[in-house]
């Protein structure tokens, strides 16, 4: 399904979205106060029925973005609009009504489920809360239908979460998330805790359900392979900002930003063989409390130039492609991949 951006207003828009936390640096009461910029001004749109993949390493702000989208935390700046209206963050009536239309799936299904309730009751719970007009029998019938849709057997209805496998639990979470026919699913590492064979089952299930119900999704994962499988569009985050955006094929096969280039080259794949060159970045991602000046990637960037240390590159857009890098600009306009490092390219043998 390829949503037509031009014809309809996006389901979700984020503009200048930021979330800062006040923290104290180590040193107890003497520690200096500082600001942790978990999300630092991001813009994105999500069309109806579209899946936007959000990738990046721990601490890059992907999960905070999910919380901002759902209205779980208030933005420090900017706003999120869902279907044209700002997402409320007061957890009041408007927020609850909106939450019927946006649901979430997290990494750990056991943590997301109530251990003391049989699974059918948990799947029916959103109906109980948001659809009091339905009779108990109708709710039961809908829960049974949802269980069938996610591949759970009717005889499992009375089971408790601990009696199910990890994959089955994630199916319960998915069934519950879909109970109210949401327009938006926020999936934060939905298959990261699952074994490979079960991960494939759940990914196929999400694809099938999406084809049937047409939900849009913000799909967060550190696994590029999984994101490519699921997403229509990918945004790469680094230290609270989007540094690159485009279709999965563009971003993963012709990455523009040096960070994306390194990320893609570092993703191990048994299919790619062992002859793939790898860009090994030096150092760790910097502490988001003390984000470097200029381009925040410059201390680890193998091809950074003087300008990168002082001048922060804006996220420039060109059609469906976007990149924030001084070195990813083509001479005649448009984008070109940043030059590959010569010394930092280390082969499999390194």
């Amino acid at each position: 399904m390829s949503p037509d951006l031009a014809s309809s207003e996006p389901l979700l828009t984020a503009r200048g979205l930021a979330r800062h936390y006040g923290v104290r640096l180590p040193g107890g009461l003497m520690g200096r106060r500082a600001t942790l910029k978990a999300v630092d001004g991001i813009d994105f749109d999500l069309a109806r029925g579209e899946i936007l993949g959000l990738v990046g390493e721990s601490g890059c702000g992907k999960s905070t973005t999910a919380k901002l989208v759902l209205g779980h935390v208030a933005p420090s700046a900017g706003e999120v609009r869902f279907d044209g209206a700002p997402v409320p963050v007061d957890h009041g009536g408007d927020w609850r009504r909106l939450r019927r239309r946006m649901q979430m799936i997290y990494q750990d299904p056991l943590g997301a489920l109530d251990r003391r309730l049989p699974i059918a009751a948990q799947i029916a719970e959103p109906l109980q809360i948001h659809r009091p007009d339905l009779s108990r029998a109708d709710r039961g019938a809908r829960a049974a239908e949802l269980m069938r849709a996610v591949g759970l057997r009717p005889d499992q209805a009375a089971r408790y979460p601990h009696e199910l496998s990890g994959g089955q639990r994630q199916r319960v979470v998915i069934a519950r998330a879909l109970a109210l026919d949401p327009e938006l699913l926020v999936c934060d590492e939905p298959v990261s805790a699952l074994d490979v064979s079960v991960q494939a089952q759940v990914l196929n299930l999400l694809e099938d359900l999406r084809a049937r119900t047409g939900f849009a999704a913000l799909f967060i994962s550190h696994d590029l392979k999984v994101v490519r499988q699921m997403a229509d569009r990918v945004a790469v985050m680094y230290l609270g900002r989007i540094v690159e955006e485009g279709s999965p094929e563009e971003v993963l096969h012709r990455p523009l930003h040096p960070y994306t280039q390194a990320l893609v080259s570092a993703a191990p794949s048994p299919h790619a063989g062992r002859r793939r060159a790898r860009i090994v970045l030096r150092g760790d991602p910097p502490n988001p409390v003390e984000a470097p000046a200029g381009c925040s990637f410059h201390p680890r960037c193998p091809v950074a130039v003087a300008r990168c240390r002082t001048e922060r590159p804006p996220l420039l857009r060109e059609g469906r492609r976007a990149v924030a890098c001084h070195l990813a600009q083509a001479a005649g306009g448009g984008f070109a991949p940043a030059p590959l490092p010569s010394a930092a390219v280390s082969g499999a043998a390194a």
């Binding site: 074994d195 494939a200 048994p270 390219v345």
Partner: protein, 365 residues
């Protein structure tokens, strides 16, 4: 994306490489034979490991891959006597001529952390949070190399340098919480190196790390191996990591090794239906996007294994013969370096020579 072909790695030239130790005909560094583990669950024992046979040559990287609960970690914990009193270990684990199963604790203590080192997934919980890094490395150096004081500190600094930690002298006085996850894993590796091991057992060493940090740690392990000639048993659920690192791969399922093969061959053409299923279930970055193939069902629990092949209920090639007894690990027809535990190998594995269309038609006729 950088995809330029690179010269073959030293590991590819394994037998001929000086770092790789003696010729392949020499006795392996470690040999596991019929290793079993039974866990005490109160009234009875449940068998978690059903007779694992594995070998590692000097300097070799053996990848052990499988899903959660397949026994890939307890294999090595059992061999090193680290499972505790609730587990009954049987079979044999010989390291450089010495039998480890039933060895006295003093003998094991000399080997563990010394000639055999272990690193785990979560370095933050493997390190002592209230001791400085330098002291923790120093402990290993005192135990296995008799170094103390100045000499131990100098050696600890050299090791931190070696694993790529900048400011090694300063880091010695820091605590694990002051270091990032990737740095702590480097400290763990430095501690493992302190005993100058012949065998490093790395259990999911990069699973908790970010992709770019994982690449750094895998590179480091490769460098250290090339330099010191130590063997590496790399345990991982990540087929990509295994493909990247291993010379030889063992695939485990439900407490058994179900396939063993040189890495390149395994990933190019897995023989066992489970190994095939795993590879087909994995999404890929390259190539055309396809619908993932799934393995139906889930792994049977260890206390309710079927009498036959543990994979039978999920296997697309299942036959009556699969349900009688667990199939033994045996050579794959036409590929003596590979072994697989499948009763239907003959029907599944194509003949080794590329069969032209004509020939196949003849066979059919």
């Amino acid at each position: 994306m950088p995809t330029a072909p690179l010269p073959a790695s030293p590991r590819d030239l394994h037998g001929a490489s000086p770092a790789a130790g003696p010729a392949p005909s020499a006795a392996p560094l470690a040999t596991l034979r019929g290793l079993t583990v039974d866990f005490d669950i109160g009234e009875r024992y449940v068998r978690a490991l059903h007779g694992v046979d594995l070998t590692i040559a000097r300097g070799e990287t053996l990848g052990v891959v499988g899903e959660s609960g397949c026994g890939k970690s307890i294999t090595w914990l059992a061999a090193l006597g680290l499972l505790g009193p609730g587990a009954r270990v049987g079979g044999s684990a010989v390291f450089d001529g010495q039998e480890l199963i039933g060895m006295r604790p003093r003998g094991l203590d000399r080997l563990r952390g010394g000639r055999i080192a272990l690193i785990f997934q979560d370095p933050a919980s493997a390190l002592n949070p209230v001791q400085r890094i330098g002291r923790q490395i120093g402990e290993s150096l005192a135990l296995h190399r008799g170094l103390r004081g100045r000499a131990a500190r100098d050696e600890a600094r050299r090791l931190l340098d070696r694993v790529g930690i900048a400011n090694a002298a300063q880091r010695l006085d820091e605590y694990p919480h002051e270091l990032s996850g990737g740095m702590n894993q480097r400290v763990m590796i430095a501690m493992a190196l302190a005993g100058e091991p012949d065998l490093l057992i790395a259990d999911e060493p990069t699973t908790a790390l970010d992709a770019t940090i994982q690449a750094q740690i895998l590179d480091l392990l490769r460098d250290l191996q090339a330099e010191s000639g130590m063997a590496l048993a790399l345990i991982s659920h990540d087929l990509g990591v295994i493909a990247d690192m291993a010379d030889r791969v063992a695939v485990m399922y439900s407490g058994r090794v179900i396939e063993e093969a040189p890495a390149g061959r395994l990933f190019a053409a897995p023989a066992h239906p489970y190994a095939r299923g795993l590879l087909a279930a994995l999404p890929d970055i390259e190539g055309p996007k396809r619908r993932l193939e799934t393995i139906p069902g889930s792994v049977p629990p260890p206390h309710a294994l079927p009498p036959g092949c543990a994979f039978a209920a999920r296997c697309p090639h299942v036959d009556g013969v699969c349900e009688t007894a667990p199939p033994p690990l045996r050579p794959v027809p036409g590929a003596p370096a590979r072994r697989a535990a499948c009763a239907r190998l003959e029907a599944l594995v194509r003949p080794p020579e590329p069969a032209p269309v004509l020939q196949r038609q003849e066979q059919r006729a």
